[in-house]
Amino acid sequence: MITAERKPLAEIIDSIDGCRRIVLAGCNECVTVCAAGGRKEVAMLASALQMDFMKRGKTLEIHEMTLERQCDPEYVEQLAPFIDQVDAVVSMACGCGVQEVVRRFKSKRVYPAVNTKFMGASERPGVWAERCHGCGNCLLGLTGGICPIARCSKRLMNGPCGGSSKGHCEISNDVDCVWQLIWDRMKELGIEARYEDVIMAKDWSTERGGGPRKIVREDLQ
């Protein structure tokens, strides 16, 4: 999933301070799963904003909506009946969702209420960790299914650095050394010999070397 964390309340208030009416739009997908911008978080942020405005003798009318997917034009269209009645949209979706609202409603101000973080997985309740960098040229098949690009601090491609200690990365004991994980996994699978394979300088043109990326499927157009 795409993970996110809510922005500090003060920053959100600062962006909409001149507004009297807003749509506060959550998303039912990734940001719901990582508890940053789903229905529940929309309700909590709406209450916090209204309390702040009230304390300062101001009023803020908030229309709460949580779209099925804010990165999908089909669902973004659901904002259309309300858009002319508000000064701005505050989006609790990831950056993809924010920009899809911007693309659809060109004359409306749209502000993000979350910081989009990374593509990750839920390790345990309340903990999400980065898993994929989106490099566009997956090498998980070569590394025992564990990604050194997303999970090694130095993005080393051929084994650990000297900072690997007792399975941890030198930057923090909270960070696994990914090359320890890869080695353990290879041993588990009985494919340690693969560790000797050299991964040559990576082709980053599939990441951002080729500029902003796009997938075009002619069969679906």
Binding site: A201, K202, D203, W204, S205, E207, R208, G209, G210, G211
Partner: protein, 290 residues
């Protein structure tokens, strides 16, 4: 007179661009530089900002200084993060480089190492701010330096095809000036009359303007520019002039020289780009009567 003093004096400056080799054979570079020594005020050494891997501009600049020719070197953001950039800037000062151009860089996809990872940690404004900060004796992390470098730093303005694009380009160039650029280098000038309109608008920048003279080397190149660079203002008349000339190469040199002569008095100086024909720079200067 140093580049810095000439810039301040308002006397017409002639800069010649010289690229470093893709390899370690510097003989051609040195020979070409010696040919124009004393006839140009400084040599501008681009780095890999056009996307082609070659010897770094820092080395090229030092080689020029060793030949007794003042160097202006490019620095840019695509390939180095803020640590590497600041480190190279300090190194440049220590090695005798006094002038920098904060340059734009070509997309990686248009270079010769298309699989490389672009850095772009800073942008041009960030890099100008880094230079300014280092000159004050503080790095971008706020730590004090043991000895601060000093440079005359300039930057570039993007090409534009119409007045709206020109206004946008000037707005960005003004930001660069505010961030520390003390001169601005323009895109290639092929039409001096058209360029005069820009010059009157560019007064708002308040710094010397250096015009780029791009040596057209063939009818094919002229047609390519006219077709692909709508902002260049390269006219069909100019293409026909080269096409009909009995000695086309010489005509190209003459056009470059005439453009320089026409710009004298209008701009602070020119930067001549010959793109592999550095050995013909002297002829261009002859035609420019410099």
């Amino acid at each position: 007179m140093s580049f810095q003093k000439r810039l301040a004096s308002g006397e017409f400056m002639v800069l010649a661009e010289m690229n470093t080799p893709k390899g370690v054979d510097i003989s051609q570079l040195i020979t070409n530089a010696r040919r124009i020594k004393g006839r140009v005020d400084a040599v501008v050494v681009p780095d890999m900002d056009n996307g082609v891997m070659r010897m770094s501009a820092l080395a090229g600049g030092v080689l020029m200084q060793q030949q007794g020719i003042e160097a202006v070197i490019h620095i840019y953001c695509r390939d180095r993060n803020r640590l590497a950039l600041q480190g190279d800037i300090l190194a440049a000062h220590v090695l005798g480089i006094q002038n920098l151009v904060v340059a734009n860089s070509e997309e990686m996809a248009n270079g010769d190492h298309r699989d490389a990872k672009p850095v772009n940690d800073l942008d041009e404004l960030g890099l100008l701010q880094a230079v300014a900060s280092l000159q004050k004796g503080v790095d971008l992390a706020g730590f004090e330096l043991e000895g601060a470098p000093s440079f005359t730093t300039g930057s570039t303005i993007a090409s534009f095809a119409n007045d709206a694009a020109m206004a946008a380009a000037l707005a960005l160039a003004k930001k660069k000036v505010d961030a520390g650029a003390r001169f601005i280098i323009t895109p290639p000038v092929f039409d001096v009359e058209r360029f005069s309109h820009f010059l009157s608008e560019a007064k708002v920048l308040g710094v010397p303007i250096i015009a780029t003279i791009f040596l057209i080397k063939s009818v094919g190149i002229a047609r390519y520019i006219a077709l692909n660079e709508p902002g260049a203002g390269l006219s069909e008349g100019l293409i026909q002039r080269i096409r009909k000339a009995s000695d086309r190469e010489n005509e190209c040199l003459k056009i470059a020289g005439e453009t320089i002569a026409a710009l004298k008095g209008k701009v602070a100086g020119v930067k001549i780009e010959t793109h592999g024909w550095e050995h013909r720079l002297a002829s261009i200067l002859d035609y420019a009567q410099l």
